[in-house]
Symmetry: C2
Subunit: 378 residues, 2 copies
């Protein structure tokens, strides 16, 4: 009846379903009531397209990935800009010369500009560690400023860490941009699907050979036993692409994989606009990390505007959503054990952000799915 079962309708599952459906019968199952995984978006009561699981901004340098997705959507060109609320002002990040002149008084800004231009090539992004290691006291001052005002307290909130627990290696990578480029990404292709990610993914999986089953947990229709898989109570001999969490698949027998979650709080503001950019970070104030106003991403005519405040949370299995892996040694070790356990079920291939227990940008998820297809198709 089915040649392949694919679990999950995020980017990974949807693309693998589409590829395999060219010549195979695919059963695509999804635990939620809607497709799209965490890319899921919908038009809200204000007539605005919102991203239910936080802002998703597509960007890639890979023309093949861009062309592949372009078969399934038109694009809204959009180059993401992020502001950070520093000393009561919203200023561009990554920190660049525009930020410099907004944050500091004119004479200090000029002095820092001269120091930066003397030491670094125009157009580059310089990790603050390099500034810190220079012999110029002004640059050391700037590195400390960026670390303290933009990075440190944001990271504390995001990961619920005390400053001493924050990884120096990560800190070192926070950049200062030797340019006036305010954009958050520098990829060649930057856009959002014109009618949203859900519509794009709907198009991807709208194939005759794909039977889509919603509101269905894999373990409700399948059983794993003695290296065999039973689907609808009969032995199943085809392939399974599993994009869910491995700890869940194996009943947490080696412990839970750790994640950071976010409480996504959408609010309606009774005004045409709320802020000057799609996303404004609040490193140093409030309990939320950032506010996203979706009208900037998907233009909409509405007398009101919808904003999203993100409150980082602990992750509790079954209670909220797993967003960011926390790579503790215990978690990495558990994931290894699950991958090992999976070898007892050679029909199953674990693919994607959750199953591989890592962070994927969307273009990486597309690329990975296409690679896995190339590997498995024969």
């Amino acid at each position: 009846m089915f040649d392949i079962v694919i679990v999950g309708t995020g980017i990974s599952g949807a693309i693998l379903a589409e590829r395999f459906a060219q010549d195979k019968k695919v059963l695509l199952i999804e635990r939620r009531q809607n497709i799209g995984g965490n890319c899921y978006d919908e038009i809200d009561g204000n007539g605005i397209l919102i991203h239910k699981y936080g802002p998703h901004l597509f960007h890639t340098d890979d023309a093949e990935i861009w062309q592949y997705l372009s078969k399934f959507t038109e694009w809204q060109t959009y180059q993401h800009k992020v502001l950070a609320m520093i000393d009561g002002q919203a200023v561009p990040i990554p920190f660049n010369f525009n930020t410099l002149y907004k944050v500091f008084p004119k004479n200090l800004a000029e002095r820092l500009e001269i120091a930066l231009l003397k030491n670094f090539e125009y157009g580059k992004k310089i990790p603050i560690l390099e500034l810190k290691n220079s012999f110029d006291a002004d640059l050391q001052f700037l590195a400390d400023f960026v670390y303290e005002k933009i990075f440190l307290h944001y990271t504390e909130k995001q990961w619920n860490l005390t400053p001493d627990k924050i990884d120096g290696a990560v800190t070192a990578r926070v950049p200062v941009s030797i340019s006036r480029d305010d954009r958050y990404f520098s990829d060649k292709f930057q856009a959002v699907p014109k009618r949203g990610y859900t519509a794009m993914i709907q198009k991807i999986i709208s194939q005759k050979n794909i039977k889509l089953m919603l509101n269905t947990d894999f373990r409700e229709i399948a059983t794993l036993r003695d290296g065999k898989i039973y689907l609808f109570d009969s032995e199943f001999n085809g392939k399974i692409i599993y994009t869910g969490m491995l700890d869940e698949l194996f009943n947490y027998k080696f412990g839970a994989l750790e994640y950071r979650s976010v409480d996504m709080k959408f609010e309606t503001v009774d005004a045409e606009n709320f802020q000057a950019a799609a996303t404004v970070n609040y490193p140093n104030n409030y309990e939320f990390t950032r506010i996203t106003e979706f009208k900037h991403i998907h233009p909409a005519k509405s007398a009101r505007t919808t904003i999203l405040k993100e409150y980082p949370q602990n992750y509790y299995i079954g209670k909220n959503e797993p967003y960011y892996p926390i790579f503790t040694d215990a978690a990495k070790f558990a994931h290894e054990k699950y991958l090992n356990e999976l070898k007892n079920f050679p029909q199953i291939k674990a693919v994607g952000r959750l199953a591989e227990y890592r962070y994927f940008d969307m273009d990486d998820a597309v690329k990975r799915a296409l690679e896995i297809y190339a590997e498995l198709k024969n």
Copy 2:
């Protein structure tokens, strides 16, 4: 694995799924990529909620049905009004005193008003046959006018009939309303689901015990043989609610059920509004029967407006949608035979507009589904 299989996610299938899911495992399957059957609606590129299969206006006098649906949706109050384009003017129908004064010169209108009020009780709806049978020449004239200008050519287009083939019994029921009530329906409850029918039906079927399978034809997962039903290649002993067409289920072995179809042509008009009411009928001009402007039904702020022109068509199996049954003797006879054939499969219950080969208003479909549940639940 499943206690009951329900085929189709229109009103009938969705409500039966919801009812059975209280204590049974339901597999709900849908041939299309989306739920909702012909109630399916979506927000289009102009930000306007449109009904893809023509305007659906909910109206009922039954408080129980209203309360049942109210568990799954908020309502947008809306009392449907229809205008008909007569002699170059859009005038209210059903024909009433407002229409009278719009269509006729003042003195004639007054004379007709007096004649109507002398002969009929205020507030009643009088079939034109009664006017025609009166001894008053003015009322006979009015009956002919309404028949010719509002009914006859509309019906010709709608059913592709010559005037001599148009059923006298139906004609006789065309009313003149002895009132100034312009509304198309007079039910106590008249509304549309605030966020649309699809959202309402989504809510209805969002139950833990309902597994929803989209893009799936019943015959792709089930086989009927020797009075038995095989689901996913195993014998299935539960109930099946089938809301599709019976001729299709039985491979047209007794011939095809006849239907009239409609080509639904949506257009964007680059203006805030197009017409004065949700629906304007064009009995005597053009090839479409009517134009619906959805902004009147679901208010939306948009610089553009979306209209729908309905072009009646012959129905071709697999090519377009079956909308209105054509009750020829051959079709009625074939449907009887299919119902008889169904007796060989006592697990299957045929429910709803398509399976029962009749026209249902939405409230009747709700009522029928609730009745069928009461009948089958034990």
